[in-house]
């Protein structure tokens, strides 16, 4: 029986792009479907990614790259893309910059079923609910008949079916294979190009697991012979690579799926609390996953934080402790004695199963990964962003030390993660300010080429680190801080003018109001988080005028350059500031 021609015009529905066994750990599979090159790779948690085979940066095939188990690294410039989310987490050419959340590759839906990896080019990004089978199969003999029983992929083969005919004599092949292997065989097609398909026979049903190697070898031989016959009938044109294919694919409207296909929402994320536990005295840890049916959470860069929306206008920033490849968000919340409802509410009212609204992760404390040695200094709850950094550095084998200052043994948060860092992590407990000062002096004794410092903790400790590092001769662009809050007394007395370069608007900032207040009043959108000059979210380019910097985010050198300003607290020394907005 001859099947009707495969309908190549309707490139909809689910198709296989690889055998599950093709996507082994640490390997990168090159695939192709409907004229689009795809990169297929499995992470160390077992999840398979199917993406357009192009780096966002310069279009180089990602299938040339490296699978680290949590990220795919482009061969050309080392851009790293996180598993599942597809977000770019690091751009080595600019180690001090956090890639924007919009730098995110398209991710295609993935379903592993019947020993094959399936995807679809017409679906919205997202994933198929587990337990459902993809529909429809482009196959005469429906694999679904055997759902629940094992399927064993036989050797698959790309067959050139020629440009003249698209009819494939599959039923004869299926029957012959069924007879040969002693189990029911289904044949699934993967359309590659107008003139080529991958023929993927599967042994299905109860007898499938019993098919032995010699039968598989015989089946492969039969498929080879089938291909030779088809191809001799289809003419000698076996060319399914490169330029010569181009005209045919273009004529039929084939082409590359754009890596930019995914729209990255900058709106808010709805998450569910999936775990809550006390990780140290007065510190509760939470783990969040997307609510059911929502896409995976954006990937996390080390140093990033999220804002948890307690109420419509009460936000609290929390650093993410995630290591590479973690797809759930993890934060630590310390109960603040003078809490205005943030940490106390998190401790007392938020429980597993609750839904929360959070912001996309923002990274105002990015980690350089080009250091020969990195010193991480944490005080108390300030350990959270540094845990993310430590795990990232550990994964790449870079040289680093984490020094964690706590009041006593009961105050060590995320001890399980600290444990995995082995000798890289040193916990100092019970030191008084003088003892801490001595320890810091010894840690910071040696600035050197390729050395970087990251510190997060209480204001007085960070001030001590700043002073110690300066007197030891560390250049100030090698020492990076994240403050919980701005310890400076803010001076809001001045009045000045701001001009916006892109929209050619001018406003007056009166005493008692911030630049951010004035921008908001006039409907100019600027992202902000802590609103006290600590987190850096609201920093915008300063094109003219001199700023009266009152934040603790920018370094002294950055402040002196006068090319950017934290609009939530800083003001003007000149009568007028020109902002790139």
């Amino acid at each position: 029986m001859n099947l009707p021609p495969v309908d190549y015009a309707a490139n909809r529905g689910w198709y296989p792009v690889a055998a599950s066994a093709d996507a082994v750990a640490g390997h990168v599979v090159a695939g192709r479907l409907w004229g689009s090159d795809l990169v297929i790779w499995r992470d160390d948690n077992g999840a398979v990614n199917v993406w357009p085979d192009r780096c966002l940066h310069r279009g180089v095939r990602l299938s040339l790259g490296t699978n680290t188990g949590t990220e795919l690294v482009c061969r050309y410039h080392g851009w790293r893309y996180a598993t599942v989310a597809g977000s770019c987490t690091y751009i080595p050419a600019h180690p001090d910059n956090a890639p924007a959340q919009s730098m995110c590759t398209s991710t295609l839906p993935v379903h592993e079923y019947a020993g094959l990896v399936w995807t679809t080019l017409d679906g919205a990004p997202g994933s198929v609910a587990v337990g459902t089978s993809p529909e429809p199969f482009p196959v005469e003999h429906d694999v679904n008949d055997h759902a629940g029983s094992a399927a064993v992929p036989l050797w698959a083969m790309t067959v050139n079916v020629g440009t003249g005919t698209l009819e494939v004599e599959l039923d004869g092949l299926r029957k012959a294979l069924t007879k040969l292997v002693g189990a029911e065989v289904a044949v699934v097609l993967q359309p590659v190009d107008p003139d080529a398909v991958v023929v993927r026979p599967l042994a299905v049903g109860e007898a499938a697991p019993a098919v032995d190697v010699s039968a598989l070898d015989a089946a492969a031989e039969l498929l080879s012979a089938f291909a030779r016959r088809i191809e001799s009938g289809a003419g000698a044109n076996g060319d399914y690579d490169g330029n010569s294919r181009r005209s045919a694919t273009e004529a039929r409207g084939y082409g590359q799926v754009s890596p930019h296909g995914r729209t990255v929402s900058t709106g808010l994320l709805d998450v569910e609390v999936v775990a809550k536990w006390e990780t140290a005295d007065g510190i509760v840890a939470f783990e969040f996953l997307p609510v059911e049916g929502a896409p995976p959470l954006p990937a996390v860069q080390p140093g990033a934080h999220i804002d948890v929306h307690m109420t419509a206008d009460l936000l609290r920033p929390y650093s993410l402790t995630n290591g590479p490849g973690d797809t759930a968000y993890r934060i630590g919340v310390k109960r603040e004695p003078d809490s205005r409802g943030g940490s106390a509410a998190m401790h007392d009212f938020v429980t597993v199963g609750d839904r929360l609204t959070i912001s996309h992760p923002r990274n105002t404390f990015p980690l350089r990964r080009d250091a020969d040695h990195t010193l991480l200094i944490a005080g108390g709850i300030g350990v959270t962003p540094l845990l993310a950094m430590a795990q990232t550095l550990a994964a790449t084998g870079a040289g680093f030390e984490l020094h964690y200052f706590v009041r006593g043994p009961g105050h060590v948060a995320f001890a399980d993660v600290i444990q995995t860092l082995g000798p890289h992590a040193v916990v100092h407990h019970g030191l008084d300010p003088a003892g801490t000062g001595e320890e810091l002096a010894s840690l910071l004794a040696e600035p050197g080429f390729g050395r970087q410092v990251y510190a997060c903790g209480p204001g007085p400790m960070l001030d001590a680190i700043r002073a110690t590092a300066r007197s030891a001769g560390w250049p100030d662009d090698t020492v990076h801080f994240e403050y919980f809050q701005n310890p400076n007394d803010l001076d809001l007395d001045s009045t000045f003018e701001i001009a916006l370069s892109r929209t050619a608007r001018t406003f007056t900032v009166p005493a008692g109001e911030t630049i951010l207040d004035v921008l908001r009043t006039n409907g100019v959108a600027v992202e902000a988080s802590c609103e006290q000059g600590a987190c850096g979210t609201c920093v915008v380019p300063l094109l003219d005028g001199r700023a009266d910097h009152q934040d603790v985010y920018l370094s002294d050198t950055q402040k002196a350059t006068q090319d950017r300003i934290a609009v939530c607290v800083s003001r003007a020394e000149t009568e007028r500031l020109v902002l790139e907005l």
Binding site: H57, G59, G78, I91, P92, A93, A371, G450
Partner: protein, 283 residues
């Protein structure tokens, strides 16, 4: 119709020393079949199927054009008597000429593509550099600095190496790099692209060096190794024609020279080997 901008360029087709013994070289230029010959009386000739083409010999190569070519750029170092001038090799690459030029201007790939030769992890930072367009319309990228693990054959430690890049012609890029033997002078390394068609190029690796140590074979091997590493990247870059729309790919600060190059090609009105901003970006 042939793109008039590309048509009126001189293009390097073959090293004159390599045409000599073979007497005749048939190829395509901008998709048009052409042939270059060494005349028995001396000198060289070029022709397409229906007419004679202009031909000049410069920098060790024969250049021709399908149109009325604008004057060729100058390389003053070529005339210095102690320079060693060499075609290090002409390699064909399955991509457009502008993709090759852009890659030549790029430093960020050194640690990943030219590992342990021109760069090495973790020293991956591309520091800020200057890009200017001079009065003659040439692009200059200056104050370019990148960490090089082994700048010379006898070097034991890495150092920051300074480079100057120049684009004097849409299909030509030139690199100036201080030479190991005489730090007051620059070695000159050129990449002259012959656009066979819109998505196939032949890359001439031109060397103009102050070097009394290395053999010709050694210099050729090194340069072919470097370009051979680039080639496999270039051939895996899609689309093959260079997209000029700034939104087509994702440029970063380090790509300043490429941003200027793409804008320059847009302003020139070049169509060959590129995807104009007003064309669809499919493919």
């Amino acid at each position: 119709m042939i793109d008039p901008v590309a048509r009126d360029l001189w293009c390097a087709i073959v090293a004159s020393a390599e045409l000599g013994p073979r007497r005749r070289f048939a190829t395509r230029l901008l998709g048009v079949p052409i042939e270059l010959t060494a005349e028995t009386a001396g000198g060289f000739a070029a022709r397409s199927s229906d007419r004679h083409l202009p031909v000049i010999e410069r920098y060790g190569y024969l250049w021709t054009s399908l149109g009325d070519p604008v004057p060729l750029f100058d390389i003053p170092e070529y005339d210095e008597p102690d320079r060693r001038i060499l075609n290090a090799g002409t390699l064909q690459v399955a991509t457009s000429a502008p993709r090759c030029v852009e890659n030549f201007l790029d430093m960020g790939h050194f640690p990943y593509v030219h590992t342990d030769l021109l760069g090495a992890e973790p020293h991956t930072e591309v520091r800020d550099y200057r890009v200017d367009t001079d009065a003659g319309g040439e692009i200059w990228a200056t104050e370019c600095v990148f960490y090089q693990p082994k700048a010379a054959a006898n070097a034991t430690e890495g150092q920051l190496t300074e480079y100057t890049y120049r684009v004097p012609h849409p299909y030509v890029a030139i690199l100036y790099k201080s030479c190991a033997e005489d730090p007051t002078r620059n070695d000159v390394i050129g990449l002259f692209l012959h656009p066979v068609d819109a998505e196939t190029s032949r890359a001439h690796n031109f060397l103009c060096m102050v070097d009394s140590v290395n053999t010709e074979s050694g210099m050729r091997h090194f340069q072919q190794l470097i370009f051979g590493q680039d080639k496999s990247i270039l051939e895996n870059q899609l689309p093959k024609r260079l997209p000029l729309d700034p939104r087509a790919e994702t440029p970063i600060r380090a790509d300043k020279s490429s941003i200027v190059y793409r804008r320059h090609l847009t302003e020139l009105g070049l169509r060959y080997g590129v995807i104009r901003p007003d064309e669809s970006v499919a493919g």
